[in-house]
Amino acid sequence: MNPTVSMYLSQGIHGIAYGMILFLIASGLNIIFGMMGILNMAHAVFFMLAGYFCYQVVTLTGSFWVGLLVAPLLTAVLGVLMERLFLRRAQKVGHFGELILTMGIGSVIVAAIKKIWGTESLPLQMPGMLSGMVNIAGMSYPVYRLFVIGLALLILVFMMLLLYRTRLGKIVRAAVSDRDMVNALGININLVFMFVFGVGTWMAGVAGVAIAPILTVFPGLADQVGMDAFIVVVTGGFGSLAGAFIVSIIFGLLSSYGVQFVSQFAPVLMVVFMAIVLAFRPNGLFGVKG
């Protein structure tokens, strides 16, 4: 095959893989905001924390797969604890106070990470069967990126089934549109909140583990990827999973092709896109809530 075309295609795959990771983080952020009205500034920190957990598990057990299973669960447990111990008690201070609270918790976790694992960037070995390249239709792709795309799609399908095919999903969707009403119908809304917070941080955790072998784990990871995910949610529209998905892919492609064509201005592209979208649709592309 033509080398130029194959280069474009592999750049595209890189972009989609990054977009998928963004989507995993953004959808957790999105569903938490849609339901509880909380802009969780600690979300990206949980994402990073999962990377560190995975590193720890891999150094202890030597298996990436155990890390992929355990690290997001540990992160989710911490997320649930944060919801139960802090956010629920701070409901009366309003959304602005909650935002500051999550910021505070986030920075405490970052401090703890620096204390425990240091500030150096820690490499994470890819499992043997995922490193290397695979040949499809005359082109070679890195297996790991394909694996990330597959993993994210799997979780997307799982989430869709959960949200649209189960009773629990129905309750969650109802709570997004009117939490007081759902509470009045006799459903323990606090329990649902805890569950949603747990699932949201779990997804951030999966993303953290997935990105760790690509970017290595370092304390600045939360700022770097977290900002991108935040922009995705804002542009896609709060409360819209489809918006988050589409914008994630667009941003992933923008960043990978942007680096190739206008390397200097690649970060500008995303922000310009966000500014243009918000200028015409202040609630985001698919946003419904004000």
Binding site: L39, I100, G104, S107, V108, A111, M227, P267, M274
Partner: protein
Amino acid sequence: MRTMNKKLTSVVLWGFFLAVLAFFPQVFGVYYSNMVVTLAIFSVFALSLNMLMGYTGLLSFGHAMYFGFGGYGTALALKHIPGLGILPAIGLGMLAAVVLALVLCPLVVRVSGTAFAMLHLAFGQLLYVLALKLYFVTGGEDGIANFPVPGLLTESLKTAPAHMYYLAVIVLGVCIWLMWFLTKTPFGQIQVGIRDNAKRIDYLGFKVPQSKAVIYTLSALFAGVAGSIYGISHNLVSADGSLGIGMSFAPIVSIMIGGVGSFFGPIVGVAIFQLVDELILRYTESTELVMGVILVTVVMFMPRGFMGLWDTLKIKIKARWAAGAGMEKTS
């Protein structure tokens, strides 16, 4: 008699306060007078944001762009226009911020709540990234440094820190007074009305988007002055130092620590923020931990910030005092 006494006390207190400010550099030296300048700069910045947040109910995630525009405006003017005085330079910085506000105004006054915050996040990040990339104008990551800083009485303010101190304190003091004055005017009352119930203000015949636009531009103006003085006093304006997302969040955090909705709350917040920063640098390295613990404590245990805590304490002490007086009478 009592009001006379009260008036007298306040005059004496103000006189004492101004005297301390006036002789501060002579008594405490350069290090501490620089701290006062920094405190004044960030107080004006936080107060300008509080004009939007506390008084009009508009949360902005990108207020640093006005701070940064003020700084870049002044720095570029001093660098490229030879013989420019210091006050016109500050004026140009202010103008830059106001022009940016006027450009964004038609877009942002239509929205409120989360959309307002996000729109500012977008434009703030856009300007930040542009400042990083357009290095032939802004100097990229290094920023603009070593531009001339002419003084009013001396050749250069760089060698006269006391003059620098007086200039900064006077300009920023006037800003603080103006903002305080504004909250007392009928226009300031309309702002509070917009925060509490925009629809009703509309029914009363006031133009909500227009008043929002005016307060927004004024807020940008004061933020611009703060940024301009910041650039002059550090003799450096950089993207990370003046335009970054951290600079947008710092005043929000200060307002939260100090107390939302009270005029002097943000100043208290800035002072605490700075004190903590100073202490952290001396005793430990982990700024994040201390700041994080403070934020969590404030939100969990004193949701109206330190000013709120102060008010509650005052009421409690008064109640106890009154109860004690009552007991004495009955016994």
